[in-house]
């Protein structure tokens, strides 16, 4: 006994279509939440990450006791939240004696945990502690430049994984066109040692240079922190292969009325509809209309003049 349920609302239908799996995916939403205990710095970190990703992030403020990302049973709550909020990235903060200022950044595939990276936050500096000219502040939702520095990102497994996850987290929406006047932020991640990464968020100042390319200047504005990699979990091979699969490039949509010829090259056909000569509206400044008016005025003047003469004569 099954029943077909379809949405009776246009709004609900559109929302469902937004959440359906697509061929080409645009930005991922991030879920930011916390565990049993958080410290002051961790609260700051979470709120600043939320602020950086304002358009595509959901912040939960209550504590969640039953979420333990690295344990096998502790992910069900996370998966449920991910399903309900349609978020495929999550940032989970918790604080304990063994792991102070702990941040678990994870990704989901089909609302199941795909991979996790656990980092500790040290030397956190919040946005308020930086002094800078407020005019240069990056706008919300602008696409950032991302720079990774350090051979650690190439050699060390965990840092490689962290690089991929950070790229996913900081990237924002995947767009085709970008406005060059609107690039104003950059993230710089430097591998200081084999397990520490210094992450900072800067505003960009474009300075005039001789060529088309302006000279870049970075000014630290946003939060900066040291990330110490603690644990990580790579996805299992089968899942990774499936997630990395892309659709074959779609066959180009046929452009209508264009054909190519061996001799003449590309030929296009233009169809012009029949002109309705009688219905076309004349523009205001048609010379014909002006002349008519002028002549009409002249006629009137003549008539009046002749009338006057007659009166006078009489």
């Amino acid at each position: 006994m099954m029943r077909i349920k379809t949405p009776k609302n246009g709004r609900v239908r559109r929302e469902l279509e937004k959440r359906a799996p697509k061929l080409v995916e645009t930005g991922k939403k991030t879920l930011i939440l916390q565990g049993t205990k958080t410290s002051g710095t961790l609260n700051g970190v979470l709120s600043e990450i939320y602020h950086l990703k304002k358009g595509g992030a959901v912040r939960f403020t209550r504590k969640n006791d039953n979420i333990r990302p690295f344990e096998s049973g502790g992910e069900t709550s996370l998966e449920f939240f991910s399903l309900k909020t349609d978020c495929s990235l999550f940032v989970y903060g918790s604080h304990s004696k063994k792991r102070p200022n702990n941040l678990v950044i994870g990704r989901m595939y089909d609302h199941h945990v795909y991979d996790l990276v656990e980092v500790g936050v040290e030397n956190f500096k919040s946005i308020e502690s930086f002094n800078y000219d407020k005019k240069m502040a990056p706008r919300v939702g602008s696409k950032p430049f991302i720079a990774f520095v350090g051979e650690g990102f190439e050699n060390v497994d965990e840092l490689k994984h962290l690089k991929e996850v950070l790229l996913d987290l900081l990237r924002g929406e995947v767009v085709e066109n970008i406005n060059l006047a609107g690039v104003d932020r950059a993230y710089v991640c430097t591998a200081i040692s084999s397990n520490k990464v210094y992450l900072t968020h800067c505003a960009l100042r474009l300075k005039k240079s001789g060529t088309v390319v302006p000279r870049m200047e970075l000014v630290e504005v946003g939060p900066s922190m040291d990330l110490v990699v603690r644990r990580h979990r790579l996805p299992n091979e089968g899942l990774r292969k499936e997630a990395m699969r892309t659709a074959k490039d779609q066959p180009k949509k046929k452009i209508k009325n264009v054909s190519s010829d061996a001799i003449e090259g590309t030929i296009g056909k233009i169809y012009i509809p029949d002109q309705k000569v009688g219905d076309v509206a004349l523009p205001n400044k048609a010379k014909g209309v002006k002349r008519e008016r002028r002549e009409a005025k002249k006629k009137e003047a003549n008539e009046r003049a002749s009338k006057k003469q007659r009166v006078e004569s009489e």
Binding site: P7, L16, D110, A147, G150
Partner: protein, 339 residues
């Protein structure tokens, strides 16, 4: 899979313009700078170099002028990142689609309005006031095959209902097939209305709270130790009736005033005898009977006279007194007579 720039600049960075990403895999801190500020400065310097490299390629892309500024078409990103959801699966063809393909039937475009011969106007193909509506048929000619007592209009309506049901069933089957392959359209959900019926055709009946409680209690006590040592769930109430449900008298007992068996038999005998004896007046019962009768009469009188008669109430009690005496008379006399 990061693109390497092999252009004139010859920088060893890995630049991915589609993601505005730059990676320098060759830098290393041979010795960590002493102070934090210096570290930060060095990081920013390296970062600036990388971002400059990205900007070089970005600003050299062909740009179109727009209202807000120059618009550039980004190349697709080269760094591969995992998807967040699975690839959408193509919808399987429905049964009709398969049949049509096999037979070579092609879809024909239908107009929204159709010419109606009867009224001589253009009418909708479906919906309100449509072309070939069942309601509009005034006369149906009888055929030889028709039964005499049948209503042809009702028959037509029934036929239509059956057709609609059949179509719904087919639609459900098509959707189930699509759901099996994981290709259900995004706005459709299949919900189970009732559990599948297995065996007999009886639908599962609703269980009441008490019944459930009884069953749960039975299940809890059906352990080797009678459920005494099981951990209780939070909120679980203790069993309603604990211990033995039936008590039996001990087999051997001394006879005396307190012997229970004697008491038991005495009680039973008394009850039996008293049912058929008219001597014993059950005072309690008599009082209740009398009270009930009185209340009924008072209610009836009140209903008749209405509630506004407050003065007459003063007179009423006296009347009742008399009646009381009168009533008592016949009852007690009856009992005395029966003796």
């Amino acid at each position: 899979m990061e693109m390497e720039m092999e252009m004139e600049t010859q920088n060893p960075f890995q630049v991915d313009v589609g993601n505005l990403l730059a990676f320098n895999p060759f830098h290393n801190f041979s010795s960590l700078p002493a102070s934090r500020d210096e570290l930060v400065k060095e990081c920013l310097e390296e970062g600036t170099k990388l971002i400059q490299a990205v900007a070089d390629s970005l600003f050299n892309l062909p740009s179109t002028e727009d209202v807000d500024g120059p618009l550039v078409k980004l190349p697709p990103p080269t760094t591969k990142l995992p998807r967040e959801k699975h690839l959408p699966k193509p919808k399987p063809p429905t049964k009709w689609e398969e049949f049509a393909k096999k037979k070579g039937i092609k879809k024909r475009k239908k107009d929204k309005v159709v010419w109606d011969e009867q009224t001589g106007t253009w009418k909708r193909r479906f919906g309100y006031d449509r072309v070939n509506d069942d309601k509009d048929i005034p006369i149906i000619e009888a055929k030889m095959t028709n039964e005499p007592g049948e209503d042809p209009f009702a028959k037509r309506q029934d036929d239509k209902k059956k057709r609609v049901e059949k179509q719904e069933k087919n639609r459900l089957q098509n959707l189930k097939q699509a759901a099996k392959l994981g290709a259900l359209p995004s706005h459709v959900q299949l919900a189970a209305t009732a559990l599948p019926i297995t065996g007999t055709h009886a639908p599962p009946k609703k269980v009441t709270k008490d019944e459930l409680g009884n069953v749960a209690g039975m299940a809890a006590t059906s352990t080797a130790s009678g459920g005494k040592f099981d951990r209780k769930l939070p909120g679980e109430k203790p069993a309603k009736k604990q211990g033995k449900h039936r008590t039996f008298l001990p087999v051997v007992e001394g006879s005396g005033i307190g012997s229970r068996e004697k008491e038991q038999t005495e009680n039973v005998l008394n009850k039996l005898i008293s049912k058929h004896s008219h001597e014993i007046l059950n005072v309690g019962k008599a009082v209740t009977m009398y009270n009930v009768k009185k209340e009924k009469k008072a209610r009836n009188r009140r209903n008749q006279e209405g509630k506004s008669s407050s003065t007459s109430n003063k007179l009423k009690p006296k009347k009742q007194l008399h009646k009381k005496a009168a009533k008592k008379g016949p009852e007690s006399s009856k009992k005395r007579k029966a003796k």
